[in-house]
Amino acid sequence: MAATSYCSRAVAPLAGLLLLSFGSLATSQIEEQAEQFFRSGHTNNWAVLVCTSRFWFNYRHVANTLSVYRSVKRLGIPDSHIVLMLADDMACNPRNPKPATVFSHKNMELNVYGDDVEVDYRSYEVTVENFLRVLTGRIPPSTPRSKRLLSDDRSNILIYMTGHGGNGFLKFQDSEEITNIELADAFEQMWQKRRYNELLFIIDTCQGASMYERFYSPNIMALASSQVGEDSLSHQPDPAIGVHLMDRYTFYVLEFLEEINPASQTNMNDLFQVCPKSLCVSTPGHRTDLFQRDPKNVLITDFFGSVRKVEITTETISLQTDLGILESSGHTWKLLVP
């Protein structure tokens, strides 16, 4: 009796220990699997930044686009992977009191034009046709490499558009417009040809949410600065330059991005909270139903930065000309005497 009670008392902690060790093994395995599951499957990043307005009073749209361009470059995407479409008539405009600069902040703190801007489509080349050609890849063979979107099925693409828009359309350079259905069809053609792994679409125009209503291809996440029926407002006029310098939504998105560095783990849910109605006057919207992963597992750097997957190289090829014979037992290799 005493023996059995002693045994049972000893067995219980032992069993507890065994269960604990199994549990920890199982959880560490599950954790590793879960970590792999939530990581994005991309190997490179691209960005297509489009400003669809021209003329001096649309200064803020060019400043918007250039600020996003700067952030994206700072977080690691190289110029060869950015397609920048701008009317580019601000910096050298005769009405610009500070030539060769484009400022994004009052008191002229930040010159976003800088020395190393690389504009791929400038001035009258920014048309609906060229934009759709870049997206779908139907480019004439004579186009240089810098004007192409050479993405593949493992690319995450960020598409940022800004300008004047309405319910279901976006105005390009005051002469033509692109409708939300054309945009949705272009994305579908990209998906058919597997030209992207995941796509983040950000639009900062009036009634911006109407532009993403018609998307139907998988793996697209969309953000807009205002809902249908609302106008997106600009942020602050600058008395020295005489125009509004930025739009509110992009201004607060940029403030948010300034705190991100390439190693940060901030996720998309924080980006959705940027610019609430109290600051922005319009209601920013987002759409995630086409996206497969949960937004809280999507890192900001998955789209805005370029964090590569790396693997340590563990094996080498021997370049000596002896013909040794290797033995395989399971997955370990042993070298036999040559």
């Binding site: 139907r138 693997e311 014979i325 399971g330």
Partner: protein
């Protein structure tokens, strides 16, 4: 279909089984894909008795001699395999090894004296043949898009997609030219080590190699000092951020649209020497190199500390190209998807030849690439058809139509050649299918900019036609009334 010819030596199987030779056995397997599609994998084994010189070769003492004797008479077609079955007690293989895979599409399997000899040996042969040509993971990697969703394996994402050509760039990064005067004989190294490898791979595409030296190019991460070994190290989690600042300076050829593979050799600055790369557990990596899928590889080359003693700065550094090329070639193999095959247990492997590539590894690559090309071409053509079905006012020009016809013919030819086991012509046909289908799909004339919603149609045409229509209608009414009046008139005067 993989043609395998199985050669039996005299004491490998019981005598009555030997009487049944020669005959052919076909082994088929189906692999399911998405959308209820399947791929059939067929191994056609042609059994025969060994010829005299083969018997002689296989009774020699060591594997090398046997191989040299066997290799002489014939060169085998791509995609086919030859398996030699030797007797159970032969000393050609070490005692506990059941099979051996050679560098040139040959393998040796031990026979057995048993009633069910053919079945048992048949299974062993299938295992060896699968390791040398097609397995489910090889096809899975090639068809990553088209398989059901379970793609969370890095092996499947690492290789480059199939393309007509590739550009390989070797770059030497010297951030500290004041201290190190680095020289590397890249031309000689490429000629001696890389070119043979690329020549062996030349069936898979056109390769162009270039090299450059970049000065004052630093890595994006500051290495940390490890006082225990008085060296600097780069932790594993900081490696992903190393590449980006360098990439903008690497440059790429403006003219070609082929995918680029970059191989960087970094000689750390004097202040940060020696520099080691640590893996996840904190141990320094033997090769001091890492690679990124679909991009390339980086290796850190530490200058020998003895070189600093004698002379003043800058110290002349001659890079040991053999060590460097060993790592780069290994990375090149991995990036191309020449992965380690799943070997059957108790199997011996021969070391790759001096080119770094065994012929059956090339075959594996070609099988995978052909299947991948076929899948890509068929999806491209299907999506083109869907696009045309949805948007009816696209005009198809004649040259687009001829590309489509050519693509379809090439797909059919490639499928036939694959089924009959001619790997080389199947691969060429599949490449042609992909180029034609891509040219048809990406033709600039197919851009659809003609979206007209119904309300916009009304909004455009009504203001145009309504003002014109009003006087026309009114005058029609007037004509009708007048003609009615003229009919009524004769009645009245009567």
């Amino acid at each position: 279909m993989v043609p395998v010819s199985v050669v039996f030596t005299r004491e490998s199987v019981p005598l009555d089984d030997q009487e049944k030779l020669p005959f052919t056995v076909v082994h088929e397997r189906e692999i399911p894909l998405k959308y209820k599609m399947k791929i059939k994998c067929r191994f056609q084994k042609a059994y025969r008795r060994a010829l005299d010189y083969e018997e002689e070769a296989l009774s020699l003492g060591s594997m090398q001699e046997a191989e040299t004797m066997l290799a002489e008479p014939q060169e085998q077609a791509e995609g086919s395999l030859t398996v030699y079955v030797i007797s159970e007690h032969s000393s050609l293989l070490p005692q506990d090894m059941m099979s051996y895979i050679g560098p040139k599409r040959t393998a040796v399997v031990r026979g057995i004296m048993h009633r069910e000899a053919f079945n048992i040996i048949g299974r062993r042969i299938i295992q060896v043949a699968q390791a040398m040509s097609l397995t489910e993971d090889v096809l899975a990697a090639a068809l990553a898009d088209h398989l059901p969703e379970d793609k969370w394996s890095s092996d499947k994402r690492r290789p480059l997609k199939s393309s007509l050509g590739y550009e390989i760039t070797f770059s030497l990064l010297n951030p500290d030219p004041k201290s190190h005067d680095v020289h590397w004989d890249i031309k000689g190294a490429v000629r001696r080590y890389v070119q043979p490898f690329l020549n062996a791979l030349s069936v898979a595409g056109n390769f162009s190699v270039d090299s450059q030296i970049l000065y004052y190019a630093v890595l994006g991460v500051n290495p940390r000092f490890n006082p225990a070994s008085s060296s600097y190290y780069l932790a594993a989690h900081s490696l992903p951020h190393v590449i980006n600042p360098v990439e903008s300076r690497l440059g790429s050829s403006a003219a070609s649209l082929y995918p680029v593979l970059n191989f960087l050799l970094y000689v750390p600055e004097l202040a940060h020497s020696p520099l080691y790369i640590q893996d996840k557990d904190g141990a320094p990596v033997a090769t001091n190199a890492f690679h990124s899928p679909r991009w390339g590889g980086i290796m850190v080359y530490n200058v020998d500390p003895k070189a600093y003693n004698a002379s003043e700065l800058p110290v002349r550094v001659e890079v040991d190209m053999v060590r460097v090329m060993e790592v780069f070639l290994a990375q090149l193999r991995l990036l191309f998807g020449i992965a380690q095959p799943q070997v059957p247990p108790k199997c011996l492997f021969s070391r790759p030849k001096s080119e770094g590539l065994m012929t059956w590894e090339l075959d594996r690559l070609l099988w995978a690439r052909s299947v991948e090309n076929l899948a890509t071409a068929t999806t491209t053509l299907t999506s083109l058809a869907q696009l045309l079905g949805k948007i009816s006012n696209i005009v198809i020009k004649d040259d687009v139509a001829s590309e489509v016809y050519r693509a379809v013919a090439a797909v059919q030819k490639a499928a036939e050649e694959l089924a009959s086991g001619h790997l080389a012509s199947a691969f060429v046909a599949s490449q042609e299918a992909v180029t034609s289908s891509e040219r048809a799909f990406f033709d600039p004339s197919l851009l659809h900019l003609l979206y007209f919603p119904d309300d916009q149609k009304f909004a455009i045409y009504i203001p145009l036609f309504l003002p014109m229509a009003v006087p026309i209608l009114l005058s029609l009414v007037k004509i009708f009334l007048e003609s009615r009046k003229s009919w009524k008139k004769p009645e009245k005067t009567d």
